[in-house]
């Protein structure tokens, strides 16, 4: 089985936010929740870089480890998913997540968190594949259709890569070798405890 990962080639990202829009549209993500976002560092200064970030589907995911009700599970493709039926909206995964991926709809009084929502790697949830319940809770399940996450598929500069970790690492390596520079795979050390040697 493949080990799915995301890789954002910061030297290619032009901060067009197509990935953000694609994600929101594909999964009908409600207002106020962003499963993916683009962050620009040193905006407007020399050397600025933009990085598209969502859940990185970490190895030994910290969110899953700290969840007090064990609502997380890892699929055979190493995608980190969770059950909204089990989630109690405590916010602990958000304290643990290095990438700010978990999001909570504001429901009830004083900022009380609803069921957590995050990037599913377009892989749905524990419900039956393609079921109405699955779509309503988690969005579409492209992976089960044999397709990759839409954010990466839509990326106009092919900065955001999704797919088997070894394959996208190889693509990135070849790119860097060809063009002669690369600022590295952002978040990989934190998420997967490995970097891509270029």
């Amino acid at each position: 089985m493949a080990r799915m990962k995301f890789l954002c080639d910061a030297d290619r990202c032009i901060e067009c936010n197509a990935c953000v829009t694609a994600c929101k549209n594909e999964h009908e993500v409600p207002w106020g929740i962003n499963r993916r976002r683009v962050v620009t560092i040193n905006d407007g200064k020399p050397g600025e870089r933009s990085i598209s970030m969502a859940c990185m589907h970490c190895t030994d995911a910290p969110c899953a480890a700290v969840c007090p009700v064990n609502c997380f599970y890892t699929t055979a493709d190493a995608v980190v998913l969770h059950s909204k039926d089990l989630c109690i909206g405590c916010g602990y995964c958000f304290y643990a997540c290095p990438f700010g991926a978990p999001q909570y709809p504001k429901v009830g009084n004083f900022g009380s968190r609803g069921k957590m929502d995050k990037c599913t790697y377009c892989a749905g949830g524990p419900e039956l594949d393609f079921s109405k319940e699955e779509f309503e809770k988690y969005g579409s399940n492209r992976l089960a259709e044999g397709k990759l996450p839409l954010c990466a598929e839509m990326c106009s500069t092919k900065s955001l890569l999704a797919g088997d970790g070894d394959v996208i690492a190889q693509i990135y390596k070849e790119r860097v070798a060809k063009r002669g520079y690369g600022s590295g795979a952002w978040g990989w050390q934190t998420a997967y405890r490995e970097t891509i040697a270029t």
């Binding site: 683009v38 870089r49 970030m53 089990l86 989630c87 405590c90 997540c97 700010g100 590295g184």
Partner: protein, 333 residues
Amino acid sequence: MAKPFERIRLIVGALALAVLIAVAAPASAQQSGAPVNPTALSVKEQQLLQELNRIQGRGTIPDVKSYVLEQPAGREWRHFHEVTLRWIGAIAVLAILALIVIFYLVRGMVMIKSGRSGRRIERFNGFERFVHWMTASCFIILALSGLNITFGKPLLLPLIGPEAFTTWSELAKYAHNYLSFPFTIGVVLIFLMWVGGNIPNSVDAEWIKRGGGIVGDDHPPAYRFNAGQKMIYWIVVLGGGTSAATGYLLLFPFYATGIEGMQIAQVVHAVVAMLFIAAMLGHIYIGTIGMEGAFEAMGEGSVDVNWAKEHHRLWLEEELRRTPKGARAQPAE
């Protein structure tokens, strides 16, 4: 004449062009030869992480907190929550329970030595008891629902299964959130109404020196609150205050602090709460099966005069002096 002059002009022109080309050539050669490095100035992930342990930038969505790109500190927090906190909690709670059991087996219930007099004196009025029990009942639910977050997953989840555990945990979360308000009000009221009697003084030093009468049959004098009770009071005020403050930081995310602040708040909240629970177990013990005649003080509001004489002699004398006819002292039923 014209021809040689034209030739000179041509030569000069050609030379000038040659010089220009010669000067310009290395410059253009440099541009195509040496590699350009567009990442020379670019921000570097590792460097940013080393500097601040977080990477923050600017985004285009309204959610400002999402502009923090990366923050690996959650890893240390995870270790605290999954390992350190469980040890702290288990040791604090189990150690105090073991101590209580051993103490009870050795010492037994502390009896009223001179027996009951049959005469009673008011110790806590209705308002004081209301505040105490409001705070106490909230505390018990807050403690159980809080312990569930730390110990529920390894202890309760395997027993009742994920669905039932989620139902219970969600209820517990709501109870924890909502009951924090009456609890906080209770802590504030406790602070205000009993602060006068809980300032440490020289009597406390004597009380502590004589072991508080906990060890042996001694009964060191005390005013309304002895040093042990003062300790409980300050644990409630400071522990309750700290857990309330840190709890509200977690209940209202991003109002006052970012993720790193919430991680610290959670650590403080959890550690203080564990120690608080341990201390309250001791308090519950001595107020119930640990001492004859103690529960009545908070239960009915009055105590036997002999109990007061043995445990709070100076307070009893004060009360009798204030009401020489024993107005506050109630006759036995």
